[in-house]
Each structure stands twice: as C-alpha cells, then as structure tokens.
Amino acid sequence: MGVFLLVVIGSVWALAQDSRFLYLLVYVWFGLAYGVLLQYGRFCMASAVRDLFAVKVPRMAVGMMIAVALYALVATVVTLAGFSTFHPNAMGWHIVIGAAIFGFGIVFTGGCASGSLYKAGEGNMNSMLVIVAISFSQAIVVTASGWWDSLVPQSWIDSAAAKDMPAELTVNEGWFDIFTAGYIWDLKGSTTAEAFGMAETATGIVLMNTMLTAILPVAIILVALYVFYYRKGHLRRTGKTAPSLGDEIAGIWAMCISSKNTALAGIGLGILAGLHMYVTGALREHYDIFNFGELLVAMGYTNGLSIQDTVFDPGYWYITTQEAQWGGWIMQQLGINSMDSIFFGLDNGLPNPLLNAPGFMSIGIILGASVMALARREFKWKLPSWETAFFAIVGGTLMGIGARLAMGCNIGAFFATVTNGDPSGWVFLFGMVIGAYVGVKAFTWYMDWNDARKGSECGL
C-alpha cells in the first residue's frame, strides 16, 4: 500500500509541475498495472520457452498465447479507431540471430526482460543485476567502435556511407551504426495488411493482421502444445482411451485454464497492452505530437533529445530500449560520448532518467510487482551468490546483445509485433526458441557437471 501511495503522491507532484506530464504518467501507471499482473500470473516469457524444454511444462507458453490473442483483438479495435502507435520491424536474419542469443541468455538469468523487472519487484537482487547487465551491454553494443567495426562487411560500410547522414553521427564509425544504416535501413518491414496493399482497409486489418498474423498462429501453437505436452497426461487423468473431437477440444480448454493465475494475467495483460496503445495514441492527438520529445521541448526540457528532437517513445509496452538509455545516460555522464550513435543520437535520445517516459514504465513494473508481492506476503530480499550473480551478469549481457541485434526483446520484437500484424515477431519467437533450447541443454550440462563435482555434498 505504501508503494502505491508513493506512486500516487509522485504523480500528483508531477502534474502540479506541469499537467503535460500526464503523457509520462500514462507509462508509469500502465507499467504499474503490468507489474501487478506479471507478478500475479508469474508471467515470464522466458518460462514460456525454457520450461517447455527444461521440465516439459507448457503453462507459460499457453499464457503467452492467450495474451497474444487478447492483445491482437484489442489492437484491432485501436487500429480501426485510428489510434495505433505501432511501427513494424525490419525483417531479416538479424532477428533470428539476435533472438537466439537473447533466448540463450534468458535461460541463465531466470527471466526475460519483463520477468526480470517483476522478479526485482519481489526482492530478487539477481534480477536487479540482470537489469543492470541488460542496460550497459546494450549501451556498449550500440556505441562501441574500434575493433568492433571489423565485424561488419564492406558492403554495409559502403551502404551506410551512401546514406548521407549528419556528420555528428559519424555513421562510418561504430559497428552498430554501420549495421543500422548499412543493413537494417535497406530491409523492409511491414504488417501483413501492408504487404497485401490492404493497410487502410478494415478487411486488411481484421483478416490479414489479426486473424492471419496473430489468431491463426496462436491456434496452431496451442494445438501443438496440447498434442506434444498436455494431451497424454490429460487423457490419463480423465481416463479416456479413445477420445472424441469434443474430448480433445475440452482438453485444449483444460490446458488453457490449468493455471488460472497465468490465464487471467494473460487476458489482463493482453487487454491492457492494447489499451495502452489507445491511450497514448489519443494523448498524441490531444497534444498534436508524434513523439514525447516535442512535448519535452514545449515544456522547456531540451537536454538529451536526439538531433530530430525525439526521444524513445514507442507508445506501447516495451522494455529493452529504455534500459539501454539508462546505461547510455550513465556512460554519457561519465564522459563517454554516446550521442554520436544512430541509436541514441538520431533515434532515441538520452534523456535524464527522470524524464524518460518508457523508463518509468519499467520502474512501474518493478513497483507494481512489489505491491502485489507484498500484498501476497511473497516479497523477500534475495541476495545473489557468486554463482547466481555470474549467471545474471553473463546472461543479462547476452540478452542485451541479442535484443539490440534483433531490434527488441520478447516484448518489443515479439509481443508487440505479432499482435499488430507484423509477422517479424514470429521469426523472433523462432530464434528465441532455438536459443532457449540450446540454453537449456547447456544449463542441464552445467547442473550435471556441478552436481557431479559436489556429489557427496548435495546428493543429486
């Protein structure tokens, strides 16, 4: 309750400074609500792919599909109403590679990007370390130059140089700038409706984006999860030896509601994520802006904006980019110039964390999860050991590298994309599944090695 009151007082104070902080507070309160639901449903997308392979439990994969279906349905209404804030991602090999690195990392950190935030809200200091590692690894990846530049092929360097970008961005230096300008910008990204020239039509939005890109794949994945992970146990429990089609459908339903907390959180998160887009879209129309940066300028805050006077402001649930900004902002304060990169200097800016609207969404998630964990008497400070701290830092670093290569994490590059008609998110999920599968194999090998080493002590 104390945490909740703190957010209320903070919100009132911010509005008293300038009523236009309402735009930022929308992120705070949606973040808080996400945090409450994530903790309530133990809703971690790392678990969705990891627990399938590690312990053969489809609970979270099912929850994730429920959330995707609900978000897609609400996003349809928001898009039809003209308030969508969504931009599709560029489609390319970088998604598979980045997602695989990200998927490998999440097995070792014990949570995805959002999962680490809500677990930090439960008092888990390992998860806090993961957030720090994600923040700095991303900031370093997007600003690094020197030997890193030898990682990119000459064709990308030539293509980046041909883009005629402002000199202060030095796009010929810094491998991520070259990767962005010389590779990503040459790729295409579109929703399915756009690809079929139906972006402006209700048929395109409903049939192509919602049904074909979200609902149909969700249905196929749910059936696959049932067949491979749930059916056998379900038939044993119900005593059916020759199940009818009705029995199979009842089985899929039983799988969907087998963890009520997860299913309810999935429904709630799906609806909230869609509403978030609507509220931010409506506020942009109200203030007549495209980006929070314009509002910051109008309020007299001009530090840390990109050269386009923008800041990172997706208008929907997103995690990793704002964390990269935290890392980049600290590096900037330490005298390491990070604004000569495309990522910060041209696109996202490096605002003071106190003015970073999506950053407050991440903080909102931590606080929302704390409210829920305290209310359920599940909050406990958990200090890292050397072993868990090592996994948190190495895994978090891999998550940061993977998220930047794939242009987002399981939220921004998967959850927000497939629900808005952008099929690139399924490519991300494919990569993340491969990474998590290899990660589980590596983790199992580590456990066996570790147990053999300490066999007499632990007896496992």
């Binding site: 133990r42 312990v55 439990v57 439960e122 146990g233 087998s258 008497r377 496992l460």
Partner: protein, 83 residues
C-alpha cells in the same frame, strides 16, 4: 546459500533451493523426484514464487501429489508425494 538435498527419514527427503531463481528450483525438483521411489515424500523449500507455478504443473503432468503447502514471508515449503 547453497542447494541441499538430504534424506530426512525413511521415504522422506528434503530439497532446499532457497536463493535460486528460475529455472533452478523446478529443474532441481525434477531431478530430485527422479531419485525418489514411488510413495516417497519430498519436502521442497524455495523462495522464488514463479517456480511454484511450474512445479505445480509438473506435479499435475506426472501424477505426483502435492500434499501440503506452507507459505509465508516469501518462502514456500511444499510436500510432494511421488506417484
């Protein structure tokens, strides 16, 4: 902080995975249950709430009985009887 797995009495075992986040608790639980004989009881102590949901699903899938759940102050002690 370290994981511990001990036999506490005939047919009774205790696995303590406090301090570990996912996926350690559920993976160690799976491993521990593989060591038990049918009818043995495992007392599982953990403090990562998210693992509980997966462990519950694991028990349901394998047919193991979750016979007791004590929870409080951020820690969980569950008793699982192996099918």
């Amino acid at each position: 902080m370290a994981m511990s797995f001990n036999k506490t009495a005939d047919g009774e075992w205790e696995l303590n995975v406090c301090g570990y986040a996912c996926p350690h608790p559920q993976m160690y639980t799976k491993k521990a249950l593989q060591k038990l004989e049918s009818g043995d009881v495992l007392s599982l102590v953990f403090d990562n709430p998210s693992s509980g949901e997966s462990i519950m699903a694991m028990c349901e899938a394998e047919g193991n009985d979750l016979i007791d759940r004590q929870e409080g102050s951020g820690s969980f002690t569950w008793k699982i009887r192996k099918a």
